[in-house]
């Protein structure tokens, strides 16, 4: 739903895409107002994790103004200048660290000082991308835009499963004055599959069982499969029991697809069989590979963001089918930055005639845009 613009303030309705809107507002420097946040719900107003996100944004910026209405159903957010630097934040365990980390990742290159954030909370959550996924699939995307890796790092210090969490990650991100335009139309073929299985406060055999089943599926496609197990002990295992797996497929053009699966939250009365988990994750990875494209489907929006924020040059990338989230993000990009992508559905090559039906790959979309010439205005020059 397009925003209403009033006095250069974008007015939105509803709590969905709260994070997107705050993120884009912070980057664009435009004030936003979000109204009717769960106004018809039994539990109206902002959730704890959303307030927590505002707190985090306040920590990485200077001069941010936030006004909450009395009922909490409307927020006015006027962003300040991104400063970055050392940030300690304990994230709300209702959402995973990924919810917050993605925001930091998007903001990271545009801070005044290199970001060095320590986030505590749930490292693996159902709703959000896990830290493993960000580390393996999202950081390489940023690397394509900044080209030189001087201190881009994500370290998982401790893992924490929901509901109590107790995990900790350290995220470091260098700053850039501007991002370079990117042409990324080839992603190559999957050459190796790696993975991590973690087991927190459960029997270590769980991990091995997950590995076995996941490997069983993947080996049908590729011989180069290697899955690590991460048995966490003591304080490193967080506060809640749980186990899970994340698989990464790397192509020969440095594209990373990542899929993950985790056990059902403890205390819900359901149990997850490790074999099922491994198989499910492998299936998801295959699904991701099938969708293809230059980036993992969960990070299409990051790619779009950084393409749009590039210099005033043409960027073009080919990605798999657009997710709902990306579609909304593109709409938001248009509203905040006025940048519109040219989206084309890539045609399958016509020369394959005989067994055409068999090798029908997923639809690919070519995104082309001219960067808005965004420069990091907060960085200091000497």
């Amino acid at each position: 739903m397009p925003a209403v613009v009033e006095n250069d303030v974008l007015i939105y309705k509803g709590s969905n895409f709260f994070r997107q809107r705050l993120l884009l507002s912070t980057l664009s420097g435009r004030a936003i107002k979000i109204e009717e946040i769960r106004s018809t719900h039994d539990d109206p107003g902002l959730r704890e994790y959303e307030v927590n996100l505002i707190r985090l944004l306040d920590k990485v910026t200077n001069g941010t103004r936030v006004e909450l209405s009395e009922t909490g159903t409307s927020v006015y957010y006027q962003p300040g200048i991104l400063i970055g630097g050392q940030v300690n934040h304990s994230c709300c365990p209702q959402r995973g660290i990924g919810y917050y980390l993605e925001v930091l990742l998007a903001l990271g290159p545009f801070c005044k000082e290199p970001l060095n954030a320590v986030l505590q909370g749930v490292t693996h959550s159902d709703l959000d991308v896990s830290v493993d996924k960000i580390k393996s699939a999202a950081l390489p995307i940023l690397l394509k835009f900044i080209l030189v890796d001087d201190g881009l790092e994500l370290k998982v210090v401790r893992r924490g499963a929901p509901p109590l969490g107790g995990g900790e990650v350290v995220f470091k991100c260098p700053v850039r004055r501007h991002l370079r335009p990117l042409q990324w139309t080839k992603w190559g073929l999957v050459k190796r599959i790696r993975g991590v299985v973690y087991a927190l406060r459960v029997s270590p055999t769980m991990a091995n069982r997950v590995v076995e089943s996941a490997k069983g599926v993947m080996l049908k496609f590729l011989p180069d499969v290697y899955i690590n197990t991460d048995q966490c002990r003591g304080s490193n295992a967080g506060k809640s029991p749980g186990f899970g797996i994340s698989l990464v497929a790397e192509t020969n053009d440095k594209t990373f697809y990542c899929a993950e699966a985790k056990s059902v939250d403890g205390g819900k009365g359901e149990i997850t069989l490790p074999e099922d988990l491994g198989r499910e994750c492998a299936q998801r990875l295959l699904d991701e590979v099938y969708r293809g494209g230059a980036v993992d489907s969960a990070f299409q929006w990051l790619l779009a963001l950084w393409m749009a924020l590039g210099q005033k040059d043409v960027s073009e990338c080919i990605i798999g089918p657009l997710s709902d989230y990306t579609i909304t993000f593109l709409q938001h990009l248009k509203e905040f930055f006025g940048v519109m992508f040219k989206l084309e559905v890539q045609r399958q090559e016509e020369d394959e005639d005989s067994d055409d039906e068999q090798v029908q790959a997923a639809q690919k979309i070519k995104m082309t845009c001219v960067g808005i010439g965004y420069v990091n205005i907060s960085k200091r020059t000497l």
Partner: protein, 1145 residues
Amino acid sequence: MGDDAAFDKKKSHHAKRAGRKAEKKKNKTKLDQSNLSARQRNPKAFAIQNAVRAEKQFRRREDVIAKKQHIPQVDKTPLEPPPIVVAVVGPPRVGKTTVINNLIKSFIKTNVTNTNGPITIVTSKKRRITLIECNNDVNSMIDIAKCADLVLLLCDASFGFEMEIFEFLNICQVHGMPKIMGVLTHLDMIKNAKTLKTTKKTLKHRFWTEVYSGAKLFYLSGIVHGEYLRNEIKNLARFISVMKFRPLSWRMTHSYVLADRLEDITSQELIRKDAKVSRDVVLYGYVRGVPLMKESAVHIAGVGDMKINELSYLPDPCPLPSSGKKRHLMERERQIYAPFSGVGGIVYDKDAVYIELKGSHSHKKEDEETNEKKVLLKNVVETKETVDEQMQESGFKLFSGGAVIYPNMVKDDEYLQHNSKTNNGSESESDSDDANDSDNDSGIDQSEKDTKSSKLPWDNNSGSEAEDNEGGEDNEGKNSENDEDSDNENDDSEEESEEDEDFSKKWREKLSEKATEAYLDRQKTSKNIMKLVYGEFEIGNKTKEQKMESSDESDEEEIGGLFKKVTDTQKKKHKEKERLDLDECSFFYSSSKPNLRDWTAESNKQLLINSFVTGKRSADEDASELLKLDDASDGDDEELYGDFEDLETGEKHFAEKEKEENPSTEETGSKRKADPTKSEILAKKLKLKAKFDSEYDNPDDHRIKGDHSYYENLKAEALKQSELNKSVFENLDNGLRVEVEGFRPGLYVRMMFKNMPAEFVTNFDSSYPILIGSLNMAEQNIGFVSCKVKKHRWYKKILKTNDPIIISLGWRRFQTLPIYSKIEDDLKCRYLKYTPEHVTCNMHFYGPVTPQNTGFLALQTVNNNPNEIQELGFRIAATGSVNEINKSTQIVKKLKLIGTPLKIYKKTAFIKDMFTSTLEVAKFEGARIKTVSGIRGQIKKALNKPEGAFRATFEDKILMSDIIFCRTWFKVDVTKFYAPVVNLLLPLGSKNAWQGMKTKGQLKRERNIRSDANTDSMYTEIQREPKVFKPLVIPKALQKGLPYKFKPKQKVTTLSGTNPKDKFRGRIAVIKNPHEQKVANVMKMLKTNYEKKQEAQKQATAERLKAHRKQKDAEEWRKLKRQKELKKKICRQISKMGNKRKPQM
């Protein structure tokens, strides 16, 4: 453009190889071999004799090359560039207008009566220029410097350079140096030939030091019949038309428009009611710099920040000639466009359009020239109609007349006309298109109704595309449906068997099934993906009709009187409501988890297998195919690689076996390649040959070359990017292209601004440039700007903190209150009251956020009051560049807190008077303090009484007379004051007299306020009493221990009890009479004589004694010697005896 390039290509020179001339040349160059030295005969043998020298030479050459290299920049000049802005700048009465008139005459052969505002003319087949004159106002000079590509700097040679010229050059340097050509006029005023020569020379050299040495300086030697000499003007024109330009960093990141036309479209009724009502104003001009985005905020210099309400492009009013194979411009193509100055026959006034007809007899002559003019006039008349239309609040169809005249324009214009057409006619077309679309977009048909009435620009494209590929797409659809079906069937059977299960589970399954369906749909649908994403936005100059929606709602069909049929809009609304409060999730299938395909199933596996390196590759990547291609190209070498033995592993490879295997693999995977054609092979061979040639053939130069591959790669990358930038949107529909790319430079655009101050229109003066600069992201915000700044060395005064100054930064000119500071070694900004004289310092002010490294200049006044200028001399107060932006500042100033001891214990003391409350003390607990004498200490804790006193400890006992300091820093806040210079809104006569905030000094001077002298600072005579020290008292016990020397001596007591020194006080001097003198003399002589004798005697005695002692010594020596010998003898005897006795023992 392509054939243009071919047309321009000159035939290259070929040296003669045969014939008389070639023979002659050969003889000339042929040297007599016999006379040559060995080195000359065989230079190769002597190529490198001295390694050190060779190395030096190589290094020097590399240095020279490296010095020439610049970081390659992406070339952003558009295919059809906007006219070049040529600004004519100079002090008043140097002949600016004459130069412009003459230039126009030389370019397009028409006389222009009055020049006002920008004048655009076509000068050559590929170049247009916009001439603009700069009036004598700093504001205009600044704005012109920001937008000019080329500056003609006019100077009266008989007078010399004036201050305005230097000011302008400095302004240019700050905002990005455009090309500058100096033009000396009034040379005929200097009669003497010699002075003329020297003047020219001195002026030239002065100009060179300002611009760069070798800068072009033109001489216009005189005026004949009010015009400069034709030859000189022609020369100048030629220079202008071949000038090349360098990209400037600010203009390569911002788009800008130099408005050359203005219309007020406010309804007359509103104006009649209230003359001051804010107006709706339309400005026209060419986009320059980078593409102009529709949503971007703009700054109109001299007015303020504005939001473009409507932006659309128009057909070019002054188009470049069509690219035919002609050498020269046709007379018809030499166009001029200058609405402000009434050229081309039109004068736009506030509310009327005047047409100039050149007198009553102008129609009579019917030669070619007038014919041309008639064409022009016709052009104008046609436009006039559209102006009328425009009066009735119309869009931008203003220049459709122009498009009619130049048929090549119609193509561009097509889209415009589409839009201008209302719902008639195109209805059916778009309907069919829409039908097409709705087939393709599943689930997004909601926006259909809205878009029906107005055709979306991308429908042109993708509609047809969709049709083209319908067949293939269907196949795809069927295929995936099959897969889906099989999945669903499985599900179904399961469901049937477990029918008695509880409802909720079934429901959940249904849900997931639905999600699966949606997910599979997603992967194959959205033919028109652009519409899926951007369908809800207004695209291409048109506003979505709100009415349609409401009518939709009223149209709701009622079924059975009770139930309403759910319309699309309602569905859409419902959907939106559902989405409104969902949890945000960036996964592909956000909340619903569909059943994925079972990828291990053989049929599904085939879809995927080729995504892995183990799968089959496409023809251009497959190694074996490439090998085969190589083999084929080698032809007869085929057997060479037929079969061979790997020596390391001992494996044997056979060609035949390979051939057997190949078909088998082809069966399993898909065959993706076609056999290489002959042309392919040939191309490949040629490429290889070229590569070899470039590597090995180096015919003329045998010297070693450095490796410049890094630089070459950078250059290639930039080139590739610029080509991509130009080519990627080439085939896109213009309306969509403008959306995606923005209004590219070179387009003539119409911008509508709402709520413009009425003064802008009522006080409009076309001699002031209207510069509309776009603002990039976040640049419309205001924050604290930190920059480095240096007072200009020609400015007479130094600048004081918090005195208002006018800053020209980015597009803006504004007044603000700066605070100067100095960055200390610990990066702390320390407050300075005044700018230092000759070094840069830091400056903070509250102003618009601007990217780092942007240059700015500061003025204390922009008022053109001649007295003030006279007094100031040079008006530019300071120049600098932006360092950092922030939302808060940290500038500090030194603060010393002073206290005195209240009570002193050993090393602890109570200090009072430093603070006023306990709270203050609490804040400073642990702070370092120091006495004047240098004893250091620390604040410990507050005391109860008196308020503000505290306990402190020191490294030594302090004195009651000590003063105690606490050194701290005090934060200075930057005043939030930011006032744009709105000189364009001022009344006509006083546009150059903008007055902002005044300094305190100015106000005091104006009102004749004198400040009272501070009595504390007044001089009073200091009277110091001499210090009286107490006598030194040494304790008795210590006195006892002292040596006598240091013991205090007893006072000598005399009988009289007076000081012994006083003994002589009462005595009288004696004066001898001559006799007594004689006696005394004799006595003296006797005494001397006696003393002499005594001395001689003493000497003699000493000598005697010496001799005697010598003798004595000798005797002693002899005696000793004798005794020694005796002792020796005795000892020998004794030892002999001893020896004899020993053996017996």
